[in-house]
Symmetry: C2
Subunit: 209 residues, 2 copies
């Protein structure tokens, strides 16, 4: 069932090449989004993929590593979403607000992906892809997060320069500002929020240098 992802599949349903890993991640993300992270088991993932549960461990060292890899993916997707609106002729503050809007839209459109990226208990310690985090070798999860943050930082630097720590502080504060809203909207959707669109607009409008 739904094995037809336009990828090479032989008679038994076995895939060639290394895309099983990607398929597992796709399935895991789908299940996370459907049932919530805590309710998804390795057996469910394996069944949906069409393999046995222990076979997952040929591709990932642990269940947490799947989440960590999804975390890297999510950071990448978010960075890309922001990157798409980061350029242009508008003023830095205007572009920063557009990035904030892209950020909010991304998070609310794919709340579980955002959750994996930003609200996980501890995505480290489960370094994806077998990369041993040695000295000098950066944790891929952290690296992806940094790349994502750098999008915002660059625009702030355009405005205030990068001489002292001010740009860094402003960028981090801005990031926190936007993250705060979407993380609360996602984690506390039962809260009696004001009109969502008005709230978002007001919140983004309060961004400044």
């Amino acid at each position: 069932m739904m094995q037809d992802l336009a990828e090479a599949v032989d008679g038994d349903g076995r895939r060639r090449g290394g895309n099983r890993r990607a398929q597992i991640l796709d399935v895991a993300l789908k299940l996370f989004a459907q049932k919530g992270m805590a309710q998804v088991t390795t057996r469910q993932i394996a069944q949906e993929v069409g393999i046995s549960q222990p076979s997952l461990y040929a591709h990932f060292r642990s269940a947490d590593e799947i989440a960590a890899e999804l975390c890297v993916r999510a950071f990448g997707a978010l960075a890309e979403a922001m990157g798409r609106v980061a350029g242009g002729d508008a003023s830095p503050i205007e572009r920063l607000r557009r990035m904030g809007r892209a950020y909010v839209d991304f998070a609310l459109d794919q709340p579980d992906m955002y959750r994996v990226a930003f609200m996980l208990e501890d995505p480290r310690g489960c370094t994806p892809h077998g990369i041993e985090t040695e000295e000098g070798l950066v944790d891929p999860v952290l690296a992806a997060g940094l790349q994502c943050f750098a999008c915002m930082h660059r625009v702030v630097v355009e405005q205030v320069g990068s001489d002292d720590d001010r740009a860094m502080i402003l960028a981090q504060s801005t990031w926190a500002h936007v993250h705060g809203l979407v993380s609360l909207l996602i984690a506390r959707h039962e809260f009696p929020w004001a009109d969502r669109e008005a709230l978002i607009e007001e919140h983004l409008g309060r961004m400044s240098f």
Copy 2:
């Protein structure tokens, strides 16, 4: 072992009255803070309390209910911390900043308590204290959260009035602003943050009406 919490204990170590529940919560919070929420098991809690693991279920319907109850507690403690600095003769914005500072201090001093309150996957569905959430009966977790939020809302109302939705939107935006910083500092402590104190000061300084 550390049974001496200045409460009535009979010869067998059995407690009289209903404070077992409170003791379990104390122990659970301590263990959460020590080892992180995901690493604490019901057996560890029970052992630390000095009872068998199934005995926990005489006081809580599930493990999640323990977390939910701690969530209520955390909201209460946070509301109290903010309430302590909410009064006085200073301007509303000044008092709002003081509340923000109290909020930040609370969250960073007790990150696991804050985590339980604001970053749990889904604290609902495990309504504490056996209260069935019927129509018209509010979920205790939500009620505690609302009480906590009301602290901020009141101060905002002092400034802008409560005629239209603006006070609500501003209060929620402000809450999100502060929450964003502490939740990121807690969840991403491996991130290369700028100087923490400078960052917090800048962030709080950017609060406004």
